[in-house]
């Protein structure tokens, strides 16, 4: 079936990765992407047990079903309506569980996929590792920095793969953008201005009369979520770290419950500055009552800008010199007239609206591609190099941002929290 959506998507991905690889050393920039561009080893599928079949879990199931090296071997959710929705996507015989420990005990899986609320990621990861399984877990890693660190340490101690769901690391538009940035096309990158703005309350409907508010709306409560930081900012901090090729040195920020005064505990409006070495900055905002500026990372260098969500790269093109415009018009008419020029002229500093150039759009599905890479890592018991480091730093940075806002003080990046690559591979 050469033309099924997966093959099309994969072919496009390979094209884009090849394109990016031609610009820079892909093996260096994104070794995991180079790995996922390779052919799968062997024909057997890695058997995955899905924990959490809410919105994301079900989207992941659909992506996993498109891969050529993974299978959904079991599902688990402690909320029956969500489990039922997931069952509808799978063969009737797929075992399903209300408790993840029962799923682990039942066996028949090689790895788990965790798509549950943030505060249970760590415990479920530990349980799966203890059962000898590999773990793929959604971002952000955990509710506390200590748990993020423990997840890394325990996966190493158990000699099992731990991969976190940062799909931008597999997105060919981002990979292409990174390669072009590394090739110097936008010059020295000094600022990433990132935002994720939405205009909705972020609530899930709760059955009337139930006591499910905190369960279904876990994003809105501090025990289970750091709100916009862990849910949205993690993705974009990862992008900033990646393009800066560095870790933040400190973060300062301000958070407020500014618009949705509905009993939620997490901020609905955050503004932060992450400092990077050399005076570079990530300027970050996220809010829930205006969607005009949507989700974007504006990566700014002295020669150009990249907007990866829009998939565009822009050269710094200054406004045209009026006297020289006149010259061109005159020459076109065969005329010679005094050219008014000389002396620095002022030009209005309005936003530039040049269309830029496309970085390459595609129908590829990076969420699916990351499972392809995970399955290969599981088969060889070798994590794709660099992937966990990116995820760990993004999660830590998002939680450090929460801390800075809560305390009203800049938070320095603790040196101990720099990810150390394992001594020996495999």
């Amino acid at each position: 079936m050469p033309d099924n959506p997966f093959d099309l998507s994969r072919r496009l991905f390979l094209d884009r990765v090849a394109q990016a690889a031609a610009l820079g050393s892909m093996a260096q920039l994104a070794p995991w992407a180079a790995a996922s561009a390779a052919e799968p080893a062997g024909r057997e599928r890695v058997r995955l047990g899905i924990i959490g079949t809410g919105d994301r879990g079900r989207a992941l199931i659909q992506n996993i079903l498109k891969t050529r090296n993974c299978a959904v071997a079991a599902i688990c959710d402690d909320y029956a309506p969500h489990l039922d929705k997931a069952r509808a996507l799978l063969p009737a015989a797929t075992p399903s569980f209300a408790d993840h420990r029962a799923m682990l005990d039942a066996g028949g899986i090689d790895a788990v996929v965790i798509a549950t609320p943030l505060h249970v990621h760590a415990a479920q990861t530990f349980d799966a590792l203890s059962a000898g399984l590999h773990v793929w877990c959604e971002k952000a890693m955990a509710r506390t920095i200590a748990d993020c660190t423990a997840m890394v340490e325990r996966s190493r101690a158990a000699n099992r793969v731990l991969q976190i769901g940062h799909q931008r690391l597999f997105n060919p538009t981002y990979l292409n953008a990174l390669a072009r940035a590394r090739a110097g096309e936008i010059g020295t990158i000094t600022q990433v201005r990132a935002s994720w703005h939405r205009n909705r309350d972020w609530r899930r409907a709760v059955p009337p009369g139930s006591d499910l508010e905190r369960k279904l709306n876990w994003r809105l409560y501090r025990e289970s979520s750091a709100g916009l930081m862990t849910e949205l900012a993690t993705h974009q901090i990862q992008v900033a770290n990646w393009f800066f090729g560095a870790l933040p040195t400190r973060v300062m920020g301000s958070g407020s419950i500014c618009f949705w005064k509905d009993g939620r505990e997490v901020y609905d409006h955050v503004a932060l500055i992450y400092d990077y070495p050399g005076g570079r900055k990530l300027v970050y905002t996220s809010l829930l009552n205006n969607a005009r500026y949507g989700c974007e990372e504006q990566i700014m260098g002295h020669k150009g800008s990249i907007e990866p969500e829009l998939g565009r790269i822009y050269a710094e093109e200054p406004p045209r010199v009026p006297g020289l415009q006149q010259l061109r018009r005159d020459v076109a008419k065969g005329r010679r007239r005094t050219i008014p020029i000389g002396g620095a002229t002022w030009f209005p500093e309005l936003p530039v609206t040049t269309p830029g150039e496309s970085l390459g759009w595609g129908e590829y599905d990076e969420s699916m591609l990351q499972f392809e890479a995970f399955a290969e890592a599981v088969k060889t018991n070798t994590p794709a190099p660099g992937l966990l480091r990116e995820a760990y730093h993004a999660s830590v940075a998002s939680l450090l941002g929460e801390q800075a806002m809560d305390q009203g003080q800049p938070a320095a990046w603790p040196a101990a929290l720099a990810f150390a690559e394992p001594q020996t591979a495999g």
Binding site: E317, P318, L324, L327, G334, I341, G343, A344, T345, F347
Partner: protein
């Protein structure tokens, strides 16, 4: 119809436009741009560059080696212009800092200073970059072109497509639509230095090369020379020069030089005897 080609970009901290007329090698403008970017990369002090490295090496005085050929060429040019302007143009001058003597061995690429020294090529870099771009363009066969760096540095290649010289008018800073001066240029560069620029805030002060004192009087200086770097150094020097100095270095150089002081909206020409001018 005459072919027109253009390349617009930011470099040297300003907007650059390269206009070429007539048939031209498809790579020509790109080569011109690369030449300017190469000068920018070598001379900038706003990001890591050979000039920044040199300044670091000379921060305590002493000697240093210059590996970058563009920087070395700029230093050789600088020395020549310092001599010509009797030191009024000096890219090492700092307000309030003592002036340092320095020696350049161009053949060996060595520089030695008698104390802390730092270069800022802001007073000639744009003209120097245009010279490099013009050389690259001419090499590809370009015969008619007009290059602008920040509109204060202009360089013409050959003649206007009509076959006549390029007619350039420097706008009067206080009289919209009027020219302060008009010139015909052919294979020449023009540079304008000014303390008045009502519409362009945030200009760097122009400093006298010998004592580092800033020029505060409202004036505009214009120099037309065979080379962009020379035109720019001369217009800078002209601004800070005393009448005697202006006359002396104008005598020594075949450039066309003009200097105006402003009294309200009136431009008063400060052209001295011996200064060759080309008023409209």
């Amino acid at each position: 119809m005459i072919e027109a080609h253009v390349e617009r970009f930011m470099a040297m901290g300003t907007r650059v436009e390269l206009h070429v007329f007539g048939a031209c090698d498809p790579q020509a403008l790109l080569l011109g741009r690369r030449a300017i970017e190469q000068v920018d990369d070598a001379l900038t002090i706003h990001r890591p560059s050979p000039t920044v490295s040199l300044n670091e090496a000379l921060a305590a005085g002493g000697a240093a080696t210059i590996d970058d050929p563009t920087l070395l060429a700029a230093l050789i040019e600088t020395r020549a212009m310092m001599t010509l302007t009797e030191g009024l143009f000096d890219p090492t001058v700092r307000q309030g800092a003592p002036r340092r003597a320095w020696e350049l061995d161009g053949a060996r690429g060595r520089i030695a200073a008698d104390g802390p020294l730092a270069f800022d090529f802001g007073g000639m870099g744009k003209g120097f970059a245009l010279d490099c771009a013009a050389a690259a363009l001419r090499e590809t066969g370009v015969q008619s072109g007009l290059l602008s760096a920040g509109e204060s540095s202009i360089l013409t290649i050959g003649r206007h497509p009509t076959g006549e010289p390029w007619p350039i008018g420097v706008p009067h800073p206080f009289a919209p639509g009027e020219f302060l001066a008009e010139f015909d240029l052919a294979d020449e560069a023009l540079s304008v230095s000014s303390t008045v620029d009502a519409s362009a805030p945030g200009r760097q002060p122009t400093l006298r090369g010998d004592d580092g004192s800033p020029v505060s009087a409202p004036c505009t200086a214009i120099a037309i020379s065979a080379r962009g770097s020379l035109a720019e150094a001369l217009s800078t020097a002209l601004m800070v020069a005393s009448p005697g100095e202006r006359a002396r270095f104008a005598d020594r150089d075949p450039s066309r030089l003009l200097c105006f002081r402003f009294d309200g909206c009136d431009a008063i020409s400060l052209v001295q005897p011996g200064v060759r001018t080309c008023d409209a």
